[in-house]
C-alpha cells in the first residue's frame, strides 16, 4: 500500500510538471514576457528630464513675448524647433533605455529577445504609434499646438492597449490611464506639458515599479 501511494505521488508530480510545461509553452509562444518594469521606470525618467528641458524653453519665449508685447513668428518657429529636438531626443533615449532593461531581463531568463512574440508586439504597437506620430507631425506642420500633448497621450495609450494582447496584460491598464490623462488634458489647453509629464513620466514610473515589484523583485 505504501509503495502504491509513493508511486501515485511521483506520477502525480510528473503529470503536474507536464501540465505546467504546456502552460508555459503556450504563454511563451503567444506573449512577449521579457518586458521589464525597469524599462518603464527608465522611460519615465527620460520623459521627466525632457519635460524639464521643454519647460525651460518656454521661459525665454514668454519673456520675449512680454518684452515685444505680442506674438513674433520667428520666436515661435525657434521654440517649435527646439521643442521638436527635445521630443525626438526623449523618444530616442526612452527607447534605448527601455530596450536595454528588457534585453537584460531576457538574457537573465535565457530567452531570445527578438523572437516571434517580440516581432508581433512591435508591429502591433507600431501601427497606432506611427499613425499618431504622423498625425501629430501634421499638427506641428500647421502650428496647431493645442492638441499635440493630448494626441501624444491618446495615441500612445491606444498603442499600449493594442500591444497588451501580445505582452504582459497589465500593459492594458497603463494604456487606459494614458488615454484618460490625454482626454482630460484636452480641457486644459496651455497645460499640455504638465499632463504630458504626468502621463509619460509619472505613470511610466509607477507602472514600472509595480511591474518590477510583481514579477522581478524575487527573480
Amino acid at each position: 500500500m505504501y509503495f502504491k501511494v509513493l508511486f501515485m505521488n511521483e506520477q502525480n508530480q510528473q503529470t503536474l510538471d507536464t501540465l505546467q510545461d504546456i502552460k508555459r509553452m503556450m504563454e511563451r509562444s503567444s506573449r512577449f514576457i521579457s518586458l521589464s518594469g525597469l524599462s518603464g521606470i527608465a522611460a519615465g525618467i527620460c520623459a521627466l528630464v525632457g519635460a524639464w528641458f521643454a519647460r525651460n524653453e518656454f521661459k525665454p519665449y514668454y519673456k520675449s513675448y512680454d518684452y515685444r508685447g505680442g506674438y513674433a513668428a520667428d520666436d515661435f518657429q525657434e521654440l517649435k524647433f527646439r521643442l521638436l529636438v527635445i521630443a525626438l531626443s526623449v523618444l530616442a533615449a526612452a527607447w534605448v533605455s527601455a530596450f536595454y532593461f528588457t534585453w537584460r531581463k531576457a538574457r537573465h531568463n535565457k530567452l531570445p529577445v527578438w523572437d516571434l512574440t517580440a516581432k508581433r508586439l512591435t508591429i502591433n504597437m507600431l501601427i497606432p504609434l506611427v499613425a499618431g506620430g504622423l498625425f501629430i507631425m501634421a499638427m506641428y506642420q500647421y502650428n496647431d499646438w493645442k492638441f499635440i500633448a493630448p494626441a501624444c497621450l491618446i495615441f500612445y495609450g491606444l498603442a499600449l492597449v493594442n500591444a497588451s494582447k501580445y505582452t504582459l496584460s497589465d500593459v492594458r491598464y497603463l494604456g487606459l490611464l494614458q488615454i484618460l490623462v490625454g482626454l482630460i488634458s484636452t480641457q486644459f489647453v496651455g497645460y499640455g506639458l504638465y499632463f504630458w509629464a504626468l502621463g509619460f513620466g509619472v505613470l511610466h514610473i509607477i507602472y514600472g515599479f509595480v511591474m518590477w515589484w510583481k514579477y522581478e523583485r524575487n527573480a
Binding site: M8, N9, Q11, N12, T15, L16, T18, L19, D21, I22, M25, M26, R28, S29, S30, P112, D115, L116
Partner: protein, 99 residues
C-alpha cells in the same frame, strides 16, 4: 467512476510533440524556424516529430516562399485540437482523481 486515463494520447507522450502542439494551439500559424527557436531543438529532431504529427492528421503543413527561401508553416487541425484537449483533460483528471 470513469477511467481517468481515457483520453490520454500516446502520441503526446513525447515532450517535443507535446511542445509543438502547445505552441500550435495558441498560434494560428507558425513557421519552422520560429518553432525551432521556441522549442530549442535541432532541425532533424523537430522535422521528425512534425512528420509524425502530420501523419496522424494532427497538424497541417503549408509550403510557401518568402522571396526565394522556402517558408513552411504549420497549423493545428480539428482532429489535432480535439486530441490535444482530450489529452489535457485526461491529465487534469488524473490529478483530481488521486486527491
Amino acid at each position: 467512476m470513469k477511467n481517468p486515463i481515457i483520453g490520454l494520447n500516446k502520441i503526446f507522450d513525447n515532450r517535443i510533440r507535446l511542445g509543438i502542439m502547445s505552441v500550435l494551439m495558441v498560434n494560428e500559424e507558425i513557421n519552422f524556424n520560429d518553432l525551432k527557436q521556441m522549442l530549442e531543438v535541432t532541425d532533424g529532431n523537430l522535422a521528425t516529430h512534425l512528420i509524425n504529427l502530420e501523419d496522424n492528421g494532427f497538424i497541417k503543413v503549408k509550403k510557401g516562399f518568402v522571396g526565394k527561401k522556402t517558408n513552411t508553416t504549420y497549423s493545428v487541425t480539428k482532429a489535432g485540437e480535439k486530441a490535444f484537449t482530450d489529452h489535457i483533460a485526461a491529465l487534469e483528471n488524473m490529478i483530481k482523481g488521486v486527491k
